[in-house]
Structure formats: structure tokens, C-alpha cells
Symmetry: C3
Subunit: 433 residues, 3 copies
């Protein structure tokens, strides 16, 4: 049965300011312009495409048409937590009661959303109402960061182009343009990484990040071998699995070198299988592999003893492996609950594992992964409820458990605050927090 | 503590008619003839053989002797859910109180069971009492289906002989007899599949099904390569792992072709390791592998965009992988809780994952896997209790959860009915439901 | 919310005597000499090293300095169950309130511990107070066992030197010294095993045990192949992965031969990755692999039909695999909850799985893995609380579950006693229990 303590704890935890260490928010806009933007989030398009197939095709360029098209399909997903996020946005921000979400109301909902979200003050109002104080971004090396509000946003470098995509001519040429000359040697790649870090650090860099394929391998790869792979890529020859592995291992080390040099963490996001569902919506074509070992990371975790590796895992099967790694490895920090694992069942288990076995100063509670600022509050509330429930259980257990001293409401709040604010601030190093 | 809402919800869910989309019931008999038949179910022989070893040997041909022999060993398994199924059968159908299950009472129990189960009306009474309205079968291509009551039974084609066992002379010759001439070419195999589907469709075919080894691979295999494997098999040369993989991949596609042509689903049952325990009872020699990736199914899931794939997984480690697949892939439907995962702990977790993240019109709640109709009720009750518990939790959470609107008793019942009846009816296409 | 039945059940279960079938206790001392010994347990050094890195270096030779150094770091791990164990030791044995554990009190705590633990009667008092009646040890073949109190301690043979370390000259020479002549042939190895068993059996041997790397393979390996590997090792040539596998498989069978001959169980501890964290404290450098199949054990489990294999698994992903193995295989016994899986979240799940699906006479509830006798009580209490909680849930469910008969407090206690005392006594064969 529902624990009354959970409600009380949630109320208090919900009142804490939000530090969101990983999002895909576009800093120049930040918020959605309409409910059509909200509904374009891949969760809604992928779930409705899954429920009632339309070959992954939605009118993404036309938010109004998208709203009209998706609304009738939402009835299939009212059971999901993703629908609950949407209803929180509707209730809290648009003032539209969930009962109003009927297909025939699509136009009224759309118009209302444009009215609310179109206001000049919208972003500020929403951020204040939601108590969002710091948002980390996901940026390409080439992103325009001029004018970024460093007191609110922290840019984070997405490292896939350097490590995974060197054989894609467009990506390689993009890197070359950024560097000022074509990428032809491994030194060029190192120079491109360095130039990128200089740029990002100038704009208040959060960390380097990578969404990493299942069973990625890190090891000491020779520059000569990497050069040979690069030559092959430049010449237009297709890389084989072995080439990719060598390049990945070598470039990963170079990225870690830069993290060390610029004293920035490297946020690992482990275990995605990209582009496996051909008929999916954009961003809704990726899955994960339950067969995924973290053993492949031993090399960098050992070698880069002074680099911090906040780590999120996609597979439930990696949950205890991550807890164990954070338990003994000083530079691994369990971070949030990612994507397919970002639902109550798996959050509940992992929160308890981490609280029971990882030093409390190492746990980074949550990040939203949001594409618009509006998603931050509902997603954090989902997590905060599970955290409140785990802490409430701990409080009650502590009164009767043979090994425990009383764990008070204050203790619970202190731990919640540490996981949600202090740890991110200290581990990543957030100025002003 | 036990939730009173669970009890109320269970009461209501238990009153729903039962649609059982996967059993091993023999349609010509259906019910057990005595408690000896019930006890011959591999769960009882394997658990008692495990508890007190007798080299997997029981008097399977003599139900009375089997009863006498197993009864004293049941004391070792009174803790199991399988024993609870047996007690439900005893209480509900035989009117024998669980307290009567003592070794010295074996004869009375046996006689009573023969008396009850031997009555001409037994099957009808039992089915009505249990509110079983539709039962899916497991059939070989060669099974006699003449006279099958299509208003109650749906035959389902077991596809292993076509896909896995082509190198077994007896199986291949059986297929040849069914086709009318020996299987010598890949075209012969296709013709045998087609003839099988024609026969099954004529008898109200449910779907094609396969119990698939761990880490099975699907991909586009060339007919020439398959022919070469078939030649090898026909010539009596042992197939190697690579041959098997090629044949499996090629034949799997041909089976999917037929599912497409005849518009029937393909029910995947993923992850069994057959014949690994040498000293086990019949049907009690198989296990699963925790290392099992669903990535091997990408090919068919993408290619057969118009074929529905209800999917059950054997390993707990495949649970979230299945939820994620059903969440984004339009043609994957999570189906029931299979075998080693068919116990409260793993059901409870998977039910919650599915309800939280899979479109509600895609979840097939449960199937019994029963060998006699008598097992359907106790197994469904086990599931329904876990479902009721998950829905009760959801109702209570909805009253306090920051993201949720009230989830009423009616909402809970609607979802339960959808998972247990409407979805199977719509996904598989059950006439009259 | 906390279940009052849990508390009542815990109280009763806690009153049972403790049979601890796996520890690393040094029989000649048994207890710690001071809190410095307690804090030298790798859990405290690894967790504090993880929380505040000091390159795994602690003054292990100086318990007083160690105490002073670790105490200020304990604030980072007050959330962990390992800290709870420490507080139980402090409260129950030292009479020091948890609130006293402040850095400035380190000297007082240390002095008090020396005073208490230094008393001649300490061991006896502690054992009696904790109701510890039987403790199994972890011993090398060469350990001095003369004078061992067989009414309290059972020596268990660690088999890694024979199976995994034959290429380490020091280990091989040690074996040779024990045997009386150098290990040069496979027959020598068999003779060394035999001599070891004779010695251990003379001292009341518990069982043979092995902490086994992830994905270990067992199969019928030829003595000639093993001899070739041994020759290579003796000649000083490095073994490759294939050599190691062959030797491992061959030597594993020889160890099983000895278990059969001397009628002793072989306790498998499956799934460790040794020495993967370079900067860790001693004993704090090992992790596990979530990708670990038990399929590699099929050979020995089938071949040694008359050898008992109590089995513990390190990975959560092996939990249901172990339950399923114990469910059908007569000679696999799920044993305790090991290391990274030895925390409430994973214990709670596995206890329920085992109680629901493994014959009750096959479940070995728990072992402490303790390095000092003082750890046995707090660790057993952690387990006993989870067991009480699972049994309380079962009692309450039984009152409303459609398939269950009432499961009374007496039933619950009988099951607990079986798992904690009777099963270990019968499965391993403990004289006097």
C-alpha cells in the first residue's frame, strides 16, 4: 500500500531546485513553441507508431498537423509513464485538464499551447515555476555557443564524431572544417579534439559525453594502427569491424587525454544498439542489448585514474555491474537512469542498490534527457517519487531493522539533496552551486 | 502488507472468461483421466526428481503407480507455486482438501480423481466452471485435426521440424510423407510449409510458433546455401554449427513468408537450451541461458513488417529487452510469462514494466502452457493475482503520484480485460471474441 | 510499509543458532584483535578508497593508524549496508553507540576495542552471544590444520591452485613441496589432489570450493592435452587462453573425481573477474561480469551425478539461471548470496525466486564470507531480515491468494530453519547437527 511517508518525502524533495546534468535542450530556444513540439518528442511518435503502425512517418515539419495526427492515437498509451509526463505538462503548464485530451479537442489544445508557449516570458516563467537552476546540454563540436548563458546552461561535448564516425565523409569533412584543414593524420584528430575542448571550456564546459554501442572495447591502441584505419577511411574504403574497434579504442584514449588535460569528466552512456528498427520514427529506431559487458571499459577506467567517469547504463542487466563498479572504482559515478531503464520498475531497483552499496558522495541521482525544458519537471517528478519511496522504505526499515540506526526525515532529505544537487555540483564541478 | 484492493481486483479479474493463447492440450482428450496424469506434468516429476533423485525415472505408463511414487516426495515441494497449482486442482476440481495430501492417502486421492475425471461430463463441467472460452493448441504439421472444435480450440503450428530438425532423418522423412514426396530441395521445404499452412488455416489456425534456442540468428540466407545444407543432411553427413545457422536463417524466412501469405502471426518463444540435463525426466531436461540477445531477430522483425510477432522470453535477462522491443517495434507483442519466468517474482517485475512502457493494445497478458485443461485455472490465477497486485498498486499510486491522474477500479478492470481478452483476440484474430 | 510480521519473524529467526557454511576466518585466531582489524576488511577500505581516493593504500600493518585514517572517511558510506554491519559490531560487541563514531573519537574507539577484543574469553563470549555453532573455513591445501576444533570448524579446500594457477611457478612448486616431489605429470597433480583430500578429510573436511572466473568451461579434456599444457608451464612458456581452458577443464574433472571418491560436495562460486581495478585495495580489485553463462558447467553437473554442487553466483544476471538449475538438476543447490549480490535488493529477489521454485530441501540460505567471527552476526542479520520479510509476505499472501493454503508462523519458521540449519547439515553433511 502507498506509504504516507513517501508523499511527505516527495513533497519535500519536489521542492528542491532542479540540477539537470543531461539534456538535449536547444539553448537558443529552450522551450517548445507548441504542443506539437512536445508531441514530436520521440517517445510519443515511437509509442503511437508502435501502437498503430504508420511506418514511422509523421508530419514532423508541421506541429499542428502532428498534433492532429497523434492525438487520436494517444488512447493506446494512456497506461505509459510517458503519457503521464505529457499530462503533467498539460496540467502544470497549459492548464488543460487531462480529461480534455480527446481527439476532437486537438485544435483547442494546440491553440492553447501556442498561446501559452508563445509568450515572451514563457521560458522564464516555466523555469522559475519548475525551480530549474542548471541545465546541461548536448552539443556537437561545431555548435554555436556564442551568447550561451553560462549561469544556467553547461555545454557538453558529444564525442561520437571523433570516436565512432570517422569513416563518414561528411562527419570527417565537418571536423576538418572545424579544425581548419582536413583530417588526414592522427595528430589532426588530436588537434581537433583539443580545439574543441578549448572552445567548450571557454563556454563553461560541463563534460565530454558519449552514447556508446554495446560491448565497446577500450585498450591501448597504437597510433600507427589508428593512422592505417584513418588512411583507409580517407581513401573511401569501407572499414571492417576490426578497423572500427581499433579506431574507437585509440580515439577513446585521446578523448580521455583531453578530459585529463582540461580536467573535465567523461560521461559514459553505455549500451545502445543504433538503427536497428528500420520502420521507426526518427530517434525511435534504437534499442539495447541485454548482453553487454562493462569489462570493455577496464582499460580507460584504470589508465585515466584522475578522470571522473559518470556512467549511465541502458540495459537493466548492467545495473548491478554499474553499482559494483561505483562501489570499488574511485572514478566511476552511477548517473541517473537512462532511456529504456528510465521507468519506475528499473529506477526503483537501481536506486535501492546504489543507496545500499555506493558511497553517498558518488551517486548522481538523475538527469532528464529532455529535448525541451518542459520535460524536465515531469521526468524529475517520476524519479523523485521513486527516490521518495525508497527513502521512506529506508526510514521505516531503520526503526525495526536489526542492523540500522534510525534514519530520520532529515537524514532522508540530506541524502536526497546530496544525490540531486551536491554530488552533481561536486563531481562535475558546477560553479555557483 | 497485503493490499485489500488486490483482493477486490483479483476477485473481479478472476471472474473474466479465460482466453488461453498457448497450451499443449491434446484436443481429442483435453482433460486428465486421473491425478496420475496431473502428476505426470513435468513440473512435478522434475521437482521431485530434483528433490530426491531417482535418475529421472518414473512409471509414466502407469498413472496409479506414478501417483503412489510421487506423493511421498511432494513434501519437498510444498513451498513451490507448482504445488499450489496442484492444490488448486485438488480443492477446486476434486474436492480434496490440501490437508489430505499425505502419502498414505494416495489411493483415495487417485480413486477419487478417477471417479471425478472419468465422468463423461467432466470436460464440459470443468471448462464451464473455469470459464475457459478459447484454448490454443500446439500441433505438429502431421497432427490429425479432423473434428477439431474450432469454436473452442485454435491449432497452432510448431515450426521446429522445418527450421531446426532438418538433419534428423525421421523428421525429414515425416515431412516428406506429409508432402507426398521426399524433401530434397528447398522448394520441397517451401511446399511442405505451404501445405501445412493450408491444412492449419482450414482448421482455424491460431499462429505459427517456435521454441527457439538461445542466441538464434536470423538473416537473409541464400537458397543455394540452404540447398547445400539440405544436400549434406540428406546424404547423412553431420551438420556443423554453421550449417545449422544457415538452414535456420533460411527456413525461418520461409516460415515468415508463409505467415505473411496466410496472414497469421508468428509466436516466438525465445531462449531455450534443450537437453542439457541428462538425468532429468522427459520434458525436464531443458534450461535457458542468461546470455541471450534478441539482436538476432532484427532481420525478420524488420523484413516482415506486416507479420505480427507475439513474443515470449525464457530468461529474466531478456525481460526489459522484450519490453523495449514492444515499446518501439510495431510488430512485437510481449506475450505472457514463460516457463522458468512463470513464477510470481519475475511476473511481478515484467507486468509492471509492460504496463508502464508498452502501448496497452499490444500486451498479451498470459498463457498457461498447460498440458491438461485442468492446469489452466490455477496458472491463470497465479498470473491474475500478480496482475491484480500491480493494478492495485497503480490505483493507489495514482492518488498520490505527482504525474498521475486517478486510475480507478474501472480503469484497472478495463486494462486487465484488454490484456487478457481483447488484445489476444485482436492481435491474433480470434473469431467470435 | 514495514510489516509487523517481519519483525516478529525476524525475532524468531534471529534466535536460531548460526551455521555458517562459508567464511574466511583464520581458525587459529578467529576473532579480530581490534577495530583496526575489523576496518581492514576490504569492504571498508574499498568503499572509502572509492569515496575519497588514496590509491588503495592504507597502513594495513598498523591497525591503530588504519583506524585513525579510515574513521574520517566513514561519513561517505553511512548509507551502506556495510556500514550497518560495522555499527552492529560496535553496538553489540563493543558497547559503543553508533553516534560515537566521529573522527575525533577514533582513539577511544580503538582503545575500547582492544580492551574488549583482547580479553582471553572474548572469542568464546562472542560466539555464545551470537549463537554461532558451526563455521566453515577457506583453506589452502598447505594450511596447518593440526589442532583444529572439528566440533566448531570445518576446513574447506580452495581448489584454485590446482585448476587455475598451475602456470605460476610459486604455486606449482608449493604443490610439489606438499606432494613430496615436483609436479611434472598429470598423475602428479592427481596425487597432490588425493593427498590433499586425505589430509582435509582427516580434519573433518567440509567441501572443496572454487571461486571461478566468468564463463568458465567444463568438458571432457584429454590427459595428453593437459600434460602438454603442464609441460609448457613447467618449461616457463606463457600459457595462452586455450591452454588455460584445457587445463582448467581437465583439472576440474580431477577435482570432481576426488569429491566423488571422498564423498564431499564441491561448492562452486561462479563469476568473478579478478584483478580488474588496478588502484584498488587488497581484495578490493575484483568485479564480476554481467555476461556470464552457467552453460559451461553442464559437463560436470551431468557427469558427476553423485557429487553435490552447492552453488553461489556473483552476478544478478545469473540469479534465475541458478534457480532454474536447482529446480531441475538434482545436484545443484543454490547457496547464499555472494559478495556484490549480498545486499538487500538482490537478496530479496533471489530469496523469493528460490522459495517459489526450488524444492525446500535444496536451498542453503546463507553464508557470511566473513574474515573475522565478528562479522557473522551482522551479516546473518541482514539476510535474516530479508528472509523474514519474504516469509511474512508469504504468510499474508497465503490468506488471500487464490492458489494458497494458509502459511502459518510455524510453517514460516520451519522453512527458515530448514534453509538455515537443516539443509546445510544434510546437504554438506555436518556431524552433530
Amino acid at each position: 500500500m502507498t506509504n504516507p511517508l513517501t508523499t511527505e518525502l516527495f513533497r519535500r524533495i519536489d521542492a528542491l531546485p532542479i540540477v539537470d546534468i543531461h539534456t538535449h535542450v536547444e539553448w537558443k530556444t529552450g522551450t517548445a513553441a507548441s504542443i506539437g513540439d512536445i508531441l514530436s518528442y520521440h517517445y510519443y511518435t515511437e509509442l503511437t507508431n508502435s501502437a498503430e503502425f504508420q511506418e514511422g512517418k509523421f508530419p514532423f515539419g508541421d506541429p499542428e498537423a502532428l498534433t492532429r495526427q497523434i492525438l487520436p492515437k494517444l488512447r493506446f498509451i494512456t497506461n505509459t509513464v510517458q503519457y503521464d509526463w505529457l499530462m503533467t505538462i498539460s496540467r502544470e503548464y497549459l492548464g488543460i485538464a487531462p480529461s480534455q485530451w480527446r481527439p476532437e479537442n486537438w485544435k483547442a489544445i494546440y491553440d492553447r499551447s501556442v498561446e501559452i508557449m508563445g509568450r515572451r516570458e514563457w521560458r522564464q516563467e516555466m523555469v522559475e515555476k519548475s525551480r530549474i537552476v542548471r541545465v546541461f546540454l548536448t552539443n556537437q563540436y561545431s555548435d554555436d555557443l556564442e551568447g550561451l548563458d553560462q549561469s544556467f546552461y553547461s555545454p557538453c561535448l558529444r564525442t561520437e564524431p571523433f570516436i565512432l564516425w570517422i569513416d563518414r565523409p561528411q562527419e570527417r569533412e565537418g571536423l576538418g572544417r572545424f579544425l581548419g584543414h582536413p583530417i588526414r593524420t592522427t595528430d589532426d584528430l588530436v588537434a581537433a579534439i583539443d580545439k574543441t575542448f578549448q572552445k567548450f571550456v571557454r563556454h563553461g564546459m560541463g563534460y565530454a559525453a558519449m552514447s556508446i554501442p554495446s560491448n565497446f572495447q577500450t585498450y591501448e591502441a597504437a597510433a600507427e594502427d589508428a593512422q592505417r584505419v584513418l588512411d583507409k577511411a580517407v581513401s573511401g574504403t569501407a572499414l571492417d569491424a576490426c578497423d572500427r574497434e581499433v579506431w574507437g579504442a585509440w580515439a577513446m584514449d585521446r578523448m580521455c587525454d583531453a578530459c585529463r588535460k582540461y580536467e573535465r569528466p567523461f560521461h559514459l552512456m553505455i549500451g545502445v544498439n543504433r538503427d536497428v528498427y528500420q520502420h521507426g520514427v526518427p530517434m525511435g529506431q534504437d534499442l539495447f542489448d541485454s548482453v553487454n559487458s562493462m569489462a570493455g571499459y577496464e582499460h580507460i577506467l584504470n589508465k585515466y585514474v584522475d578522470v571522473k567517469f559518470p556512467t549511465a547504463v541502458l540495459a537493466d542487466t548492467s545495473g548491478l555491474e554499474l553499482t559494483a563498479a561505483a562501489w570499488i572504482r574511485h572514478n566511476v559515478y552511477p548517473s541517473g537512469h537512462w532511456w529504456y531503464s528510465n521507468q519506475p520498475t528499473d529506477i526503483a531497483r537501481e536506486v535501492r542498490r546504489r543507496i545500499n552499496a555506493v558511497p553517498q558522495n558518488k551517486i548522481i541521482g538523475y538527469f532528464s534527457d529532455a529535448y525541451y525544458l518542459e520535460f524536465i519537471l515531469p521526468k524529475f517528478r517520476m524519479y523523485k517519487y521513486e527516490l521518495a519511496d525508497a527513502l521512506a522504505e529506508r526510514m521505516e526499515r531503520s526503526l525495526v531493522h536489526p542492523n540500522m540506526e534510525p534514519f530520520s526525515l532529515d537524514d532522508a532529505m540530506a541524502l536526497a539533496e546530496q544525490m540531486l544537487i551536491k554530488n552533481p555540483a561536486e563531481i562535475i564541478g558546477i560553479p555557483g552551486l
